[in-house]
Amino acid sequence: MLARATTWLTILRISIEERLVYRGDFALGTLMRFLPIVTQIFLWGAVFEAIRASGSGADSVAGYSYHDFIAYYLLTMIGRAFSSMPGLASGIARDIRSGTVKKYLIQPIDMLGFLLLYRTAHKLVYYLVAAIPFALVFWLCQRFFPGWPDAITVAAFLASLVMSFLLGFFLEATIGMIGFWFLEISSLMFVYMLFSFFFSGHMFPLDMLPGVWGPLVRVLPFQYLAYFPAAVFLQKITGPELAWGLAVELGWVVLFILAARATFRLGVRQYSGFGG
């Protein structure tokens, strides 16, 4: 127990040092990541201008005003910061393929636990350093936000973010575990990325989806990776709907924790059978 905490602190310290060496680059890179949003803001500006000029009287798209859109995109950046797990699935698959995964089987280290700690450390460090550029951007754009929401909304927002981190982790970890059965998971990863990109609400608030698409997407877990926290903060989801959403999100998290553990155990059994 103590050993694990010491390891955790060491990983944290090394990660911080690593980041700080490149801190100038890192700050620049973080700021640059907001650049694509600039284009989107102008696009929606033009869309809303057209809507206004058309004389239909409408001033919102699917319940989102122009300012809401900008705020939404900025909030999805935060959601993404929590839920994106670059290299997790491919790293697991690579470890399996190369045999490095053996160290988890031989030594008393829990693979999922270790990876989770590692990611947590990295994300924490990310926030320590990225907080400044993020804060700068949000401060510059504060007029797009409808003021600070109430405490419940903030609490729900934070809860949904933490859960989106866990969901993102265990979802990708499960996909990585498929590497026990299939050597190349890159095609699977690609399909996952496609779905995730579209259905997580990255490109647009999911409320925009017409007809049957809306409810269809709500069934999937992807919405919790970016859309849900953002919508919560903007108070597009409130009351019983909010409670329900959080509960379902929790459900997905639990489901994927179990899925990851199960696939790991099954995979290990399958793997040892080869005696590689």
């Binding site: 060496v21 490149y22 100038g24 680059d25 620049l28």
Partner: protein
């Protein structure tokens, strides 16, 4: 007119402190810290047509830099050079068609494609007539016995086979001058031998001019009559291989076989440095100039069954030459 004429060629360059990260690099553009490395410090050389010359020298002596200067890959800091009448660093197409450079362990062929495809690209770039191209290619692949490997992706070939393909690629356009930078480095003994045999054969048949740099004495001994030793950016010897020993081998080795019961190694120690003591055989190292004196002393004092006087091994002499530091400039002696 000599094929290669070099006068006072110098190359020094600045090594800038490498900064990590993009922002630091940009900042580094404005406040640079550097040190100057003088790779080549004034080389004079003339090579006639058909010569096969070896550049010997320790690491960092300037051999590769000199070859790169003559290939036009880098610009000199001073001095002049002409190869086939061209100034190399002008990189005129007419010049580039007439020479070739091969660097050991560096690949220019397409990795995932069969060598045959890379050769075809060469044909297009060098604008070789189709029949001549096919003839040359078949000639070369025949000489190196790699015809059956032409349609295999280069990445599947062994190191030796890859080197052969690189050589073929370099010779497809029948260059008049060939620069070889450590061509046999990393190859196994058989491959080394094959490459050497090929080079010798090719050079004798075509009478092209070849400049070869190498660490391996076997390459040099097998192929070159003329050896140029470069150390710390300067030429310190230019002549035949045997001349090196005459010039630099300051000591000789006396091998003695003593009669039984005669003198121990300790007794003989006063005549010179004991290299090997394996009674009744003893090997002594003795200063060249006093060899006759020492010999007569030993023969007078002891009964000797057999004696021979030899030069020290070439590798040893050259190693000693390489380890000289900062000797006076220019060439020390010209032995032709």
């Amino acid at each position: 007119m000599a094929v290669i004429e070099i006068q006072g060629l110098c190359k020094s360059y600045r090594v800038y402190q490498k900064r990590e990260g993009l922002l630091a690099s940009i900042a580094g553009l404005f406040r640079r810290r550097y040190r100057t490395i003088e790779a080549v410090r004034g080389i004079d050389l003339a090579v006639e047509r058909g010569e096969f010359v070896a550049f010997l020298g320790p690491n960092g002596a300037g051999k590769t830099t000199t070859l790169k200067l003559l290939s036009g890959v880098i610009n000199p800091s001073g001095g002049t050079a002409r190869v086939l009448g061209h100034i190399p660093w002008k990189r005129e197409n007419t010049y580039r068609r007439r020479f070739a450079l091969v660097m050991g362990q560096k690949n220019q062929l397409w990795w995932d494609l069969p060598a045959a495809e890379s050769f075809r690209l060469h044909q297009q770039i060098y604008r070789i007539e189709p029949e001549q191209f096919e003839r040359t290619r078949d000639d070369l692949t025949g000489m190196l016995s790699v015809g059956h490997l032409l349609s295999q992706p280069v990445r599947e070939l062994s190191l030796g086979e890859r080197m052969k393909m690189e050589l073929i690629a370099a010779l497809l356009h029948s260059p008049e001058v060939l620069f070889l930078d450590e061509p046999t480095i990393g190859l196994d003994v058989v491959a080394q031998y094959n490459v050497q045999a090929f080079l010798r054969h090719y050079q004798e048949a075509r009478r092209i001019t070849i400049l070869l740099t190498s660490h391996y004495m076997k390459d040099v001994a097998a192929l070159c009559r003329r050896v140029v030793i470069i150390s710390l950016g300067r030429i310190i010897y230019d002549g035949s291989l045997s001349g090196i020993i005459d010039r630099f081998g300051g000591q000789k080795v006396i091998s003695l076989q003593m009669s039984n019961g005669q003198a121990s190694a300790a007794d003989l120690a006063r005549y010179g440095e004991i290299l090997q003591a394996d009674p009744p055989r003893v090997k002594l190292r003795v200063e060249r100039s006093i060899v006759p004196q020492v010999l007569s002393n030993i023969l007078a004092a002891h009964t000797v069954e057999d004696v021979s006087v030899e030069d020290p091994p070439l590798e040893q002499v050259i190693a000693e030459v390489f380890s000289w530091k900062g000797e006076g400039g220019g060439r020390m002696m010209n032995d032709k």
